[in-house]
């Protein structure tokens, strides 16, 4: 085993609420991600998955415990990973191309150079011909691809994806899964994906961490030993079904053994 690139150790996060008892969102979460791995976090809504990603992106800090990404630790995580939030957050006042290059623009890359780098990837991302389009003209699937392109163009080798396909219909989502799978080799990135879609987690990941309901903790780690690249037909094989079954069982076990500490207010 090489040294992990992401280390999360005993991380808890408590949210204060006005005129109400604080909510414990995460309770002693520990896991690691190796360089080059595709790891997914699955769990029910409100189990703190997004909070965990936001902390790794440097947008939130744990109440206790420690997160490390490469050499970066508490207080220096902002900007280490490329973070793709749940909503595409495309800016309607910018063209698709200018949305995609925003990271390069912030980094001070000259506009012509930034656009050249972005254009190179437009074909792979299935966006050719839409460079000058407004985000409002795109379908939901295309918007997510622009959002992912913007994330990839940060040049970071570590991607944090927060339910990137959650808002899409099942058919579009399956298409994007197959497309992303073919893209993985080219990206050569370490990816941490948050999702509540078991098919998505099983199909894309090398390893899946199953989280318990709130307060979230890691209930199980399920390895997915299917060879890459994975044609989409793999999702109907017995091996794939076996992975899904163990994910389902882990989720169910986590729900039953854990009595939720609070019932009020879902996330």
């Amino acid at each position: 085993m090489s040294t992990p690139i992401i280390t999360v150790r005993q991380v808890s996060r408590k949210f204060a609420r006005p005129r109400a008892a604080p909510v414990l969102a995460l309770n002693g979460v520990s896991f690691t991600v190796e360089a080059g791995e595709f790891v997914s976090l699955v769990g029910p809504s409100g189990c703190g998955k997004t909070t965990l990603l936001r902390m790794l992106a440097g947008l939130d800090t744990p109440t206790s415990g420690e997160l490390r990404v490469g050499d970066a630790g508490p207080g220096s995580l902002l900007g280490v990973c490329a973070y793709m939030p749940q909503h595409d957050l495309l800016m309607p006042w910018r063209t698709v191309l200018d949305n995609a290059t925003v990271a390069l623009e912030i980094a001070g890359v000259p506009r012509a150079e930034a656009r050249r780098r972005a254009r190179e990837l437009f074909e792979i991302f299935g966006l050719t011909g839409f460079e000058q389009a407004s985000p409002a003209e795109l379908s939901g699937g295309m918007r997510q691809r622009v959002s992912l392109l913007r994330t990839v163009l940060t040049g970071k080798r570590l991607l944090l994806l927060d339910e990137p396909f959650g808002a899409l219909d099942a058919i579009t989502r399956a298409d994007l899964h197959a497309w992303l799978s073919t893209l993985l080799e080219r990206l050569a990135a370490t990816i941490l994906l948050v999702t509540h879609d078991l098919d998505e987690a099983a199909y894309l990941s090398d390893r899946v961490y199953v989280m318990s309901p709130r307060p979230g903790r890691i209930a199980a780690a399920v390895p997915v030993s299917l060879a890459h690249p994975r044609p989409y037909e793999v999702t109907t094989t017995a091996a794939f079904t076996a992975v899904k079954r163990s994910l389902l069982e882990a989720l169910r076990a986590a729900r039953h053994q854990e009595e939720p500490a609070y019932m009020g207010g879902s996330a």
Binding site: G79, Y83, H87
Partner: protein, 291 residues
């Protein structure tokens, strides 16, 4: 909002200016080139023509004296007179200057207050009730006080214009600042953006449509606000001209000045609307999000 101090018995042109203003707003929201806009324009002209015809007929049939209610023709003739022309030309620039200065001050005050309220919850809670209360101030009632305190010059007009219209700017800019998804600034920060870059890339563009909504309202109020300020006490401007003509019992000239005021309001509004289309082309792509 306090009402404009048009002379009560002379409602005609004021009605007409309101009628012509409405289709312009629709045109601004939908773009200028469309058939629908052209149809709106024609309908607007038709309404004005009908009103004028009705008015002319009422004066002719009712045998009304010119000093009670001049006919549209008499108003048109007034425009031809050397004395009316010089009265309007001598005073037009004063009003434009006051309205522009007031409009600029109103944008500064309006945007400034909106940003303060957006940045600090305490300031918002403290300021919002005060701002709403400020809208209850009857500008007519404090006009005299303003003249006593600030004199006959530019200052009281700017104060009146700001009182008239800063609220529209503050509310629309504040609301548009709130429409920005807080995740976007967060995302930009993960990309290494400085606060200034977040402002330039996300906050300012997101607030622009609201800013223009407020600016369009404010500019329309600016002209009437400036004229009201002149009405209370001044040595020049269209409001002053209005009073001169009124004191001389020259009703056709009074109405001629009112027509110029309406045209000035329209032109000012059209200028801001044109700037809006230039600066926020994306806002037109999604009319549903705007209306």
């Amino acid at each position: 909002m306090s009402s404009m101090p048009h002379l009560n018995q002379r409602r005609g042109p004021a009605e007409a200016s309101r009628e012509t203003r409405a289709p312009l707003k629709i045109g601004a929201a939908r773009g200028w080139g469309g058939d629908r806009f052209r149809a709106g324009w024609l309908l607007s002209l038709l309404i004005v023509a009908l009103l004028l015809g009705f008015w002319q007929a009422a004066v002719t049939i009712g045998h009304l004296e010119s000093y009670i209610l001049p006919s549209p023709l008499e108003v048109a003739q007034a425009f031809g007179k050397q004395s009316t022309q010089s009265l309007i030309l001598d005073n037009l620039m004063v009003t434009i200057e006051e309205a522009l200065a007031g409009f600029a001050a109103c944008l500064v005050v309006g945007v400034g207050l909106a940003v303060l309220m957006f940045r600090s919850r305490i300031l918002r809670d403290a300021l919002y009730p005060l701002l709403i209360a400020s809208q209850a101030i009857p500008t007519i009632a404090i006009g005299a006080i303003l003249v006593i305190a600030l004199g006959y010059g530019l200052a009281p007009k700017i104060v009146v214009v700001v009182l008239y219209s800063f609220f529209a700017v503050t509310v629309s800019v504040y609301d548009s600042l709130l429409t920005l998804d807080p995740d976007l600034p967060a995302l930009l920060r993960t990309l290494g953006a400085s606060p200034w870059q977040v402002l330039r890339i996300a906050r300012i563009p997101a607030a622009l449509p609201g800013f223009f909504t407020g600016a369009k309202l404010a500019v329309a109020y600016s002209v009437s606000g400036a004229i009201y300020g002149e009405w209370v006490g001044s040595t020049g401007g269209l409001g002053y001209a209005l009073q001169m003509a009124s004191n001389a019992m020259e009703a056709p000239t009074v109405l001629a000045v009112v027509v110029v005021m309406a045209a000035l309001s329209l032109a000012a509004f059209a200028a801001v609307a044109a700037l809006e289309r230039l600066c926020t082309p994306w806002a037109r792509r999604r009319p549903s999000a705007k209306e």
